[in-house]
Symmetry: C2
DNA sequence: CTGAAAGCGCTTACAG
DNA sequence: CTGAAAGCGCTTACAG
């Protein structure tokens, strides 16, 4: 079966290729009778314009890039996995295809080049990034080159850049977490922070600290540990906390739920009961949190809404519509059983 | 900043476009001195060949399609979400990009056409399908057109079709499930089947039945119910079972873990304790199974291996290497706490 | 080892 | 309303 092209369709329909193109693209300046005749030939021969020709003639690809920066084991985390699905679904709802890729990091020249090539080759009309460190040179470079870039959890000092679209968590969740614990009567609070290269982790940290200062709660030595966004990092951090602290806190505020799950595992293992001896609270709304024993109390985000916002605004930017370049998503306290009132 | 093309690179390097192309594509018949000179100009000007030109000249896109057939709410299920990640990771490991899309169904002409267009436009070199009903006309059509198609859980009668690549669950898991329950002393076994349009569900069903016959275990009226692959369908099926059966079974064999989680929820709600009153066993190895109360006993599959096999063989077919067109993946019994020995 | 030339398939101002 | 023509950027036999 020979591949059919627009020249052939034109010949069979007795029109020029220009007209075939007009019909294919749904332009209005084609009389119905001509349109129908051409459509009939197109349908009969199952003609679909080749992407290569369309691209070369200057059409957009209708494809959005999705780049996930993660060190190799995304599929281990259910929350992370769901991001893929949210982005794909939201792109599809906007009529875009999604070209997805995973990179172990952004610091390696090879990885950066891989992403850059995809943009430069014009495979995609724009790209979404998840897991990028704040102030990533690659993102700045792509933005400087005029590429449309949408980034999850990213802060850019210059608000006037119209081709950098971001979505962020609200900035005061950290403070809300501490306020909540204080409201339950806790005064001995330990903090397990996240990766400070992430904008949100930094803001959550600042929130933790500012709220503790506001409530005049001292931060004891050994009660602030840095971890990451994995369960294992939380597990290790909690071990470290238990080993180094002279006294145990009554509550632990954790940067994120994945990490908090690890904290709970470490406490379990040490025979420390949650929340009787130590309350644990996370942030994010990890889907596994509700199935934990005890179910995890957390400040939850609507990740679907978050990605809907990011994807739709990025696509709007591609289509040269005016957009808000950033949006902050609010949290919702989900009280389950991992925190208790004391004192 | 004007976009730079191969003509310009050729001019700056003092060679022809042919030579630029040879360098870009790493052909051997270019002396090192020329290669270096050209490379230098390419690097200085950050030249990347445009996809459109390459495609038009007949190169492959290096892109694999990934089509997920699901009625709208994939992100609700963690196991399903992970499929996306496995496929993306495995495609990347083979040097391919992934173009992913979600469709609510395969029966609607609009959806079928959407997929068909992506193939016909030559956006992708081949495509992977997940969630397709067995004997799907669209897949047969694509195969007939010579497209390279990889399908998860699909059976095709004609083994000689070299462009249809499949990966399947082993066919006897259903029998193993019943054998296991019988081994624990169960004689009163109910079955909750899956969607019979899926090849695996049909095979699991056949396995259930054949093993029960082999053990001379009668299938009581009302002890066989059809469900789907969702938790909710399992919940509903179990309610139905409890409502219609004259007597309750001592064990329920469920087509898949998602569904089994729903069965457990329904039993919980009815105050029936697992496994004291009824044992429940699933198939798949759903990540949530281990966090259930009680943790779910199941026959588990290595989904990463499964998708690694599917993706790598599909890519091999694209690159015209010889491949096994199908592979069956074995299960592994993971005994947790939802089944008990009786009698 | 290298260049000139052909070829890939489409869209879009432009002219009528 | 419609066609002829220009233009988009690359690769690959072919000839030398």
């Amino acid at each position: 079966m020979k591949k059919i092209n627009s020249t052939e369709i034109a010949r069979l329909a007795g029109v020029s290729r220009s007209t075939v193109s007009r019909v294919v693209n749904g332009y209005s300046n084609v009389p119905d009778s001509t349109r129908e005749r051409v459509m009939k030939v197109i349908a009969e021969h199952e003609y679909y314009p080749l992407l290569s020709g369309q691209l070369l003639a200057g059409k957009r690809s209708g494809t959005l890039g999705f780049f996930w920066v993660s060190n190799g084991t995304i599929h281990c985390d259910m929350l992370s996995s769901s991001f893929f699905v949210y982005v794909t679904e939201n792109a599809a709802n906007n009529g875009y295809l999604l070209l997805s890729g995973i990179l172990p990091n952004f610091t390696d020249e090879i990885n950066r080049n891989w992403v850059k090539r995809i943009f430069m080759q014009e495979r995609i009309d724009g790209g979404i990034f998840v897991g990028a460190s704040n102030n990533s040179p690659l993102i700045d470079e792509l933005v400087a080159k005029g590429k449309i870039v949408g980034v999850f959890d990213y802060h850019h000092p210059d608000v006037n850049v119209s081709n950098l679209i971001t979505v962020n968590f609200e900035n005061d969740t950290g403070a809300k977490v501490i306020d909540y614990l204080v409201g339950l009567g806790h005064k001995k609070i330990a903090i397990i922070d996240g990766n400070m290269n992430n904008y949100s982790s930094l803001k959550r940290h600042e929130g933790f600290i500012s709220s503790m200062q506001r409530h005049n709660i001292p931060l004891h030595r050994g009660w602030m540990i840095y971890a990451d966004v994995t369960e294992q990092s939380g597990y290790i951090a909690c071990k470290e906390l238990m080993a180094s602290a002279k006294e145990l806190p009554t509550a632990i505020a954790v940067n994120n739920d994945s990490c908090a799950l690890g904290v709970c595992a470490a406490l379990d293992e040490a025979g420390i009961s949650i929340p009787q001896q130590i309350s644990v609270i996370g942030i994010d709304g990890h889907p596994r949190g509700r199935y934990q024993a005890p179910p995890l109390t957390t400040f939850e985000f609507d990740f679907n809404a978050l990605f809907r916002s990011l994807v739709s605004r990025t696509i709007a930017a591609i289509e040269k519509e005016p957009v808000e370049t950033t949006e902050f998503i609010p949290s919702k306290l989900t009280e389950r059983c991992s925190c208790r009132r004391i004192g």
